[in-house]
Point group: C2
DNA sequence: AACAGTTATGCAAACGTTTGCATAACTATT
DNA sequence: AATAGTTATGCAAACGTTTGCATAACTGTT
């Protein structure tokens, strides 16, 4: 019994055909007769032939592999995006190789090199927090490797991006609070070095202006990374303040949850005294009491859309399109925390 | 300007050396003089040479790639495990290609074939829920491709497994409730077709017996998949029952959280009237009020351990070890929900 | 000066698949 | 019966790297 795996040559010898015919038969090439195709397929099945995709990739210069760089995999948002990527890729004959940049620029650059070595057909990226300059991605782009960014995307070069409309989402959330009867709407914001949090702040302000409410700087609190702990601090700041809000739009669900808990402990009723809206529709938003009104940021769909766009760019013959930005619709999910 | 990428041959021509020398120089082969190595490295750097790993994999029959099959990526437990896998693999020069079985046996089998075609060096798997028979994995094993299972592992064949001690963890959790003064400890259990939930039930019973408490069947409730909703139903069942528990060990955190919420709404004080312990240390356990006592199931470490074992098996020359089972230590994290 | 031993490099084949081109074997048309 | 057209198959090269073996150029020993 031979130890090594069956190759096209083995099949060829057994069937008295040439390897090229076998290759074409299995690839359903039109020039091969149906009779031969049947014979080949049957024999391949019998011998348990497994085509060597490495050899195929090597020859075709096409790996059917997509590289993904996310800051971390264990953050729910990213795990949802990656799930969407894997699902869409799988259904279209592509495989997914994942890397965590750990929000390190150095590691991001290392990964880019590895992906280049591995000859992936395309790359999907959410930028590391440290990345201010995208030259390493521009290089990749020059080499003709398709690139799609999601969520945290570069501003300094024209490329493919999948984003949500943070401005509009924030506007919607704030408008909802106003329409629920809030007169003094606060905002807990993320780092202003990140565009998405800037946009959320702007959307919030725009809604206030549209409804002729004053933008009070004392009602806007800033955090570094919107952690649960920072949320607690913000809540305490609001509590100490003389001019308390009667509604708060939080830039993520973690801070929203911490505000709910701190306020409740302080005897403030949610939503009666203060209405709360979060952002991202994290699992906890359905569990916290009262259930949290929030924005569905469509993470899974983001992964799907990124992959769809990437594959189109990979397979596109037409080189006329150089870049594309897709903005996904978000959705305000109204739950108890905001219904006065 | 040439359009295609630089190869060993290009470097060879430029330096008046043979491709083999270039290959060895870059691979730091001892037979190459330091002077030559320096020259080669410098030129490679200058021309931006990127070694073609596909060609290398093809020639060496080694892809430096690990295939991972998880039921889904967007479940927190699995995203943590995968994070551990990626981290350990990356630090040891391996890449990770991920697949979701979606708990479908058919898809699991398809993926196995793809991984075989792709010539991955090894595979890490958490079995799909539908998988009762592991013949497709046995085949892989016969071909000499190293295989490591985690969490949901096969019982019908001898292979590499990373598990936690569910029995002991459940014993610890139950013992803790008993020592906190509970006299009537209930248990919300998962599907008994899954070994880990069987083991948790057994551990619970063993603790009761050890402390001379009766095992009351009416206090043990069964669910299909330990969902939040099923937890709510269990809580309601307990409420209606004439013989209520004063402590409950839940087989996961979701059901524990739902019990806390339903009981609190019914005016039952947690932990004073009923103490609660969960399982898995989900993020929500630190947020729910009262904070949930639970078992740290070491998901990240599980991923690391699986990868470490797999890489050892890949690189091991010694064929004498055929299989290994590693049991990770868990940890009881005591929080407010169980302190009477 | 002859030889053995060491050091550095090159040659050429191999890995398994794909594909442009050639060609053989038919079929249909005059 | 000769020709053109079609259909099915084979030949051989190529993709970029690695590696066993050969060999050339030294160094040191007698």
């Amino acid at each position: 019994m031979k130890n090594s795996r069956i190759t096209l040559k083995d099949l060829a010898k057994d069937l008295n055909l040439s390897p090229s015919t076998i290759s074409r038969a299995l690839g359903n090439h039109p020039a091969i007769s149906d009779a031969t195709k049947k014979r080949v397929q049957k024999m391949a099945e019998e011998l348990g032939f497994r085509p060597n995709s490495i050899a195929s990739s090597f020859r075709k210069k096409k790996t059917q592999t997509i590289g993904v760089i996310a800051p971390r995999i264990d953050i729910h948002f990213h795990s949802l995006v990656i799930s969407g990527i894997e699902e869409f890729a799988y259904n279209n004959g592509y495989n997914v190789t994942i890397f965590q940049s750990k929000d390190s620029l150095k590691r991001e650059k290392e990964i880019i090199k590895i992906l280049q070595n591995k000859m992936v057909d395309g790359i999907i990226v959410c930028l590391s927090i440290e990345t201010k300059n995208c030259d390493h991605f521009k290089k990749i782009n020059k080499l003709g490797i398709p690139l799609v960014f999601y969520d945290r995307v570069p501003t300094d070069f024209d490329t493919n991006k999948i984003i949500i409309n943070d401005f509009e989402s924030a506007y919607l959330a704030t408008e909802h609070l106003i329409k629920s009867g809030c007169k003094r709407v606060g905002h807990i914001s993320g780092s202003q070095t990140t565009n998405i949090f800037k946009a959320r702040l702007e959307g919030y302000k725009a809604a206030l202006k549209h409804y002729k409410l004053p933008v009070e700087e004392s009602l806007i609190l800033f955090t570094n990374n919107l952690s649960y702990e920072e949320g607690v601090k913000c809540a305490e700041t609001y509590l100490k303040s003389t001019t308390k809000p009667d509604g708060i739009f939080c830039a993520n669900d973690y801070t929203a949850v911490s505000v709910i808990q701190v306020f409740r402990k302080a005897g403030i009723k949610i939503p009666e005294d203060v209405a709360i809206v979060g952002f991202s529709n994290y699992p906890i938003s359905k569990i916290i009491e009262p259930h949290l009104t929030t924005i569905n940021d469509r993470a899974f769909q983001m992964g799907e859309a990124a992959t769809k766009l990437l594959i189109r760019q990979i397979e596109e013959k037409d080189e006329s399109i150089s870049s594309e930005t897709i903005t996904l619709k978000t959705e305000l999910i109204i739950r108890e925390s905001s219904i006065k």
